[in-house]
């Protein structure tokens, strides 16, 4: 497998491209071939655009050839493939957000991050599957069928960015873009054994991204190692005047120069880390807790100072989130009315009847639940009791974190998900059980903080994610700590393992994830 370019880290792909040992076209073809051959069993891609990808790869090869001999510093991702969650606009391409209500829609412009990735010379392979409008924690709420987890095809990859996580875990792409509103990058990263970062609110422009909950949504990177994730964040972060919430806070170039193993491990010395006791929640699997405790021991062994801390309002996070996010979603999703875009249903005689028909047919069950919840929470007579109350509790949740930053903690250490990947269908019958998947991630969105999930070993053969949470704008610090952990566990046996069910994806008759879900879904829905 050593000669298989799909197994390389993105930064080594980039180095080989610069050295002229490899062309961007060869790299794209290797990934496209693998993705096309294996996606039946994974259903992680909603579209693979071979023609466009090869054109971009050829353009990257021209840039590489022209500048290889020059002093100019080439963009870090020049010629490297990337996958986009299917809520990122690519001019002329589909952008379904996992929903029937956007079927047939073609984006009339590029998202800000698409422009940035183009400028950087990254090669966009295609668009990945997701829970409809990013609402879900398993990718089972996609209108286009569920995605499977490469570690066990009977299990979910997490969500909502489950397609992006699965393609990176399965080596279909070295890098992918996701969005995280309550854990939708970190939780699937944890469940598929890869790295995923949710940046500080305001770090990345959302221009051209389908909105879910505007005070919580952030765009972030997936990769199989910390350096690659940092490089992808560097490529997309920064102020964009078309998203007024994007911040002018500078994006540090250190993201492109994270330390080598020895320096990274030494960097852990003296770092002050908090271990929030409330994140070791009831229902947490013993195997997950064991891996997190071992990670803490390893960090302490490298000289980090880990202290028990408290985030006392954590228990209110779930309820607060499930008022704020649906309320914002119900407003954002009012635009899907079949008038300006998307399929229109109804007889064309009565505008209200057409709205009801278009939206009733176009949205799936989870999106309807959230629109209903949000509309109710904002409706006359209930606004104060629900939405305003939740916004006040949000203040307290944020204040819990602020108090720890004021005490000088460099970061907090926690599990990303209380469980490993669960079985397809296991949580569909009870929405609240699905919502609990994000208990350890959604407070971070409520407070607008950056959080990263990194692989921390296996429990019962399935990946466990370690979450590091930082103060606003501390991404470089988080990546440094994550590099440190990566360095001190570089020789661990589990680091050498590939997802266990990858060989099954090469069987032409392998069942699709929808086939695997069907016997359970009949009970669940």
């Amino acid at each position: 497998m050593t000669s298989d370019v799909t197994r390389l880290p993105a930064h080594e792909m980039a180095a080989r491209l610069r050295a002229g040992d490899l062309s961007s076209r060869e790299l794209a073809v290797a990934h496209l071939d693998l993705a096309e051959r294996q996606d039946r069993g994974l259903n992680a891609w909603l579209t693979i655009d071979r023609e466009r990808a090869l054109a971009e790869a050829d353009a990257a090869d021209v840039r590489l050839a022209a500048r290889r001999t020059m002093e100019d510093e080439l963009p870090a991702l020049l010629g490297v493939p990337v996958a986009l969650k299917d809520l990122v606009s690519v001019k002329g391409g589909q952008c379904t957000a996992g929903s029937h209500i956007l079927e047939g829609y073609r984006a009339p412009y590029d998202a800000y991050i698409t422009e940035r990735l183009r400028d950087a010379g990254a090669v966009i392979l295609g668009k990945t599957n997701m829970d409809e409008f990013a609402m879900g924690s398993s990718t089972e709420h996609s209108a286009f069928g569920p995605t499977a987890n490469p570690w066990d095809l009977e299990r979910v990859p997490g969500g909502s960015s489950g397609g992006s996580a699965a393609v990176v875990a399965a080596f279909h792409a070295p890098l992918a873009i996701g969005t995280d509103t309550g854990g939708s990058i970190r939780q699937p990263a944890a469940l598929t054994g890869i790295v995923g970062l949710k940046p500080t609110y305001g770090r990345v422009s959302r221009y051209g991204i389908v909105a879910f909950a505007s005070s919580l949504d952030q765009i972030g990177p997936f990769a199989r190692n910390v350096r690659d994730a940092a490089a992808l964040l560097h490529a997309i972060a920064g102020r964009d005047e078309r998203d007024s919430t994007s911040s002018p806070v500078p994006v540090p170039d250190v993201l492109l120069h994270l330390p080598d193993d020895d320096d990274a491990a030494n960097g852990l010395r003296g770092k002050r880390l908090g271990l929030p006791r409330e994140y070791f929640v009831a229902g947490m699997e013993p195997g997950v807790e064991a891996r997190i405790r071992e990670a803490v021991t390893a960090l302490e062994g490298a000289g980090a100072i880990v202290e028990d801390v408290s985030l006392p309002h954590t228990e209110y996070g779930l309820a607060t989130y499930y008022i704020v996010a649906p309320a914002e979603a119900s407003a954002n999703l009012a635009r899907y009315d079949g008038i300006r875009f998307g399929p229109r249903r109804g007889a064309g005689q009565d505008v209200l009847a057409d709205y009801l028909a278009t939206r009733g047919a176009g949205f799936g069950p989870e999106v309807k639940r959230r629109i209903m919840l949000g509309t109710y929470a904002l409706s006359a007579g209930y606004y104060d009791a629900f939405y305003l109350k939740a916004q006040k509790v949000r203040t307290l949740i944020k204040a819990d974190f602020d108090a720890l930053w004021a005490q000088g903690f460099d970061a907090l250490v926690a599990p990303t998900s209380p469980t490993v990947a669960f079985r397809l269908g296991a949580r569909l019958a009870d929405p609240v059980s699905m919502y609990l998947s994000d208990a350890c991630t959604l407070p971070v969105n409520m407070a607008g903080l950056p959080g990263i999930s990194i692989p921390a070993g296996l429990s019962e053969g399935l990946p466990v994610g370690l979450q590091l949470i930082g103060a606003p704008w501390s991404e470089a610090g988080l990546f440094g700590l994550a590099r440190g952990y990566e360095a001190i566990t570089a020789d661990a046996d589990w680091r050498t393992l590939e997802p266990a069910d990858l060989p099954a994806l090469d069987v032409p008759s392998t069942p699709t994830p929808a086939d695997r879900l069907a016997p359970h879904a009949a009970v669940a829905r």
Partner: protein, 98 residues
């Protein structure tokens, strides 16, 4: 905390412009009440003197020069509409005929 009746669910669906089948309304009545039960925990948090948080960053009053800039061409904007006529999107009648 609060219980949603079937009539309430129908009212909210109407506010949200969601055309739902009878079985969807019935299922939602159960599910929404189950979710609302989880909200009850918030009533125990004292918040009388707490300001609400609507956003988490310090940015405010982002201003820019009011200058004319190119916008998307009308073909690009109209291209996704279900029905168009010339430079217009065709919509169902909003006012009744009389």
């Amino acid at each position: 905390m609060v219980t949603l009746s079937r009539t309430d669910v129908e009212h909210v669906a109407h506010l949200a412009r969601l055309g739902l089948a009878d079985e969807e309304l019935s299922r939602l009545e159960g599910e929404l009440n189950h979710i609302l039960d989880q909200y009850a925990v918030l009533s125990s948090v004292p918040t009388d003197h707490i300001a609400p948080t609507a956003q988490t960053i310090e940015l405010e009053n982002i201003l820019r020069e009011d200058v004319v800039r190119p916008s998307l061409p009308s073909e690009a904007v109209l291209g996704n509409a279900a029905e168009t006529e010339g430079d217009f999107i065709v919509v169902p009648a909003i006012l009744s005929g009389d």
